[in-house]
Amino acid sequence: MKVISEQRAPREAILTIDLDEAEVEPYLDQAYRQAVRRLNIPGFRKGKAPRKIVEQMFGRDYLINEALDSMIQDVTNKAVEQENLELGGIPSVAIENFDPPSFKATVPLVPSVDLGDLESIRVEKKPAADSSEQADGVLDQLRQEQAVWEPASGKVAMDDLIELTVEGWIDEDGDRREIVKSENTEYIPRSGTRFPIPGFDEGLVGLPQNKTTSFTVDVPEDFENQDYAGKKAFFEATVHQVKRKQLPALDDEFAKGVGDGFDSMKALRDRVEGDLRDRDQRNADATHQDEVLAKVVEGAIFEMSPLIIEHEVEHYVHERQDEFKAGRFTSIEDYQQAIAWQAMSEEELHESARPQVEERLKRAHVLREVAKRQEFESTDADIDAEIEVMASDSGDNADQVRTLFQDPDRRDSLGRVLVNRKTLQYLSGIATQPKSGAAKPKARAAAKTKAAASKPATKKAPSMKAAGTTTTRPKSK
């Protein structure tokens, strides 16, 4: 196999590959064996005709044609290997000559990323939003869930559960036209309800128990049902029983009832506040990492073969379209995009998706480059630990999660996720260093001890970096 390779910008190699007879032969043989099974040749059962006969009847070109697909792929891979090139995507191959075959392959190489001055990147970290005040809201919701209906004496109030016998009608020239009639039904009056007519619920409020009372309601002119609109509705109602929601007091007793082994109100409140704060922290971290990465991408210089981008765009568009076709929309934007896409031609589609895809690719390559430079890796132990974390989070499905991640592919991708996470933490650590850029291991260690004393969110940030570096340092040796 004769290979002439020449490199050209941006990060592409052109390989001219010439094959001689002996190299083509195995491919032709394979092609014959595949073709003969479906060829119908008189005098022979399917798959029984010798190669000689097939070549005589269909010609050698036929076999070459059949072989071409696998041959191109195989030969290109071999050539890339032979030339010691770093394959960065799927090569595009043109056929120069048919017999003897000769190809011209454009091979995208792994993009080169010049990260620029990473150490000088500074992105201010916005303090995590503090939503621990929402704890009251969460507790209140818990209270509502645990509330019980207790019989109450006295008159009906809004949001009571009442047992009610009611008859309602409107007067139509002396005829009673029934609106509602029911006996012993449970009903909860709520303000603003429009059923059966607006004002009915308000009319119920204040009724005494066990006494038939009548009241009238003026149906508003704009009521949906024209038969009733603007008329006077008469109701006769008897309230048999009133039950009121009794919210449990927020005390230790309540905390125990929630489950999960809280033994005091304080423990429950701490936990709720802690959860909320964790969520805020995570959100803030993610936003910061995102901003940092965007900044790094902005400062980096990429040399990337258009072939890679093209391929990725195609892949992306295809995937999204499949998703849309299957009706999977994760947000309203998705839906709008799907509609917009329907109106576009293939080319427009690719054009519109390109900036997004390019950004994604750049981010991925920045992460790859940083991870490579810092020698971030994920060991089997790391992956196992992560799987354990996920398993313990998923409760009853723990075993399912474990079996799911037995799969080597899944483990690999999980490993990549871990490396990315580490890299992002590292970058966001750099970006939050003090301006002087003097933050060296000592400063990081100091930051870590500070963070360990559980200080507010803003000071916690450097600890991630400390964590990232300490765990990876032993491996990088």
């Binding site: 005098g43 022979f44 029984k48 000689k52 006969i53 070549e55 005589q56």
Partner: protein, 95 residues
């Protein structure tokens, strides 16, 4: 009639291809042809030396078709010609 006109066409089937390994070549021949004629034709036409000729006659046969009608199968006469070891007949060898 020319000598070579005795041979109508080569028979190319799975079976005949297998026979080629034993230096045997199969031809469709004229109904009236005999072994001597076939031998001469093959020797002259392909420049090989013929060791033996076997002839198979297949008479017309009526075959039932599924719909109750009958189909006739053409009669044919085939010759299996054994040539001397080392000799090959190009017609079968392909281009």
């Amino acid at each position: 009639m020319h000598v070579l006109q005795v041979l109508k066409r080569p028979v190319i089937t799975e079976k005949s291809t297998l026979l080629q390994e034993q230096n045997k070549y199969v031809f469709d021949i004229l109904q009236g042809a005999n072994k001597a004629q076939v031998k001469e034709a093959v020797e002259r036409g392909f420049e090989v030396s013929v060791i033996s000729v076997n002839i198979i006659s297949q008479n017309t046969e009526r075959v039932r078709r599924g719909n109750g009608s009958w189909q006739t199968r053409r009669s044919s006469k085939k010759a299996v010609v054994t040539v001397a070891p080392g000799d090959t007949i190009q017609l079968f060898e392909g281009a």
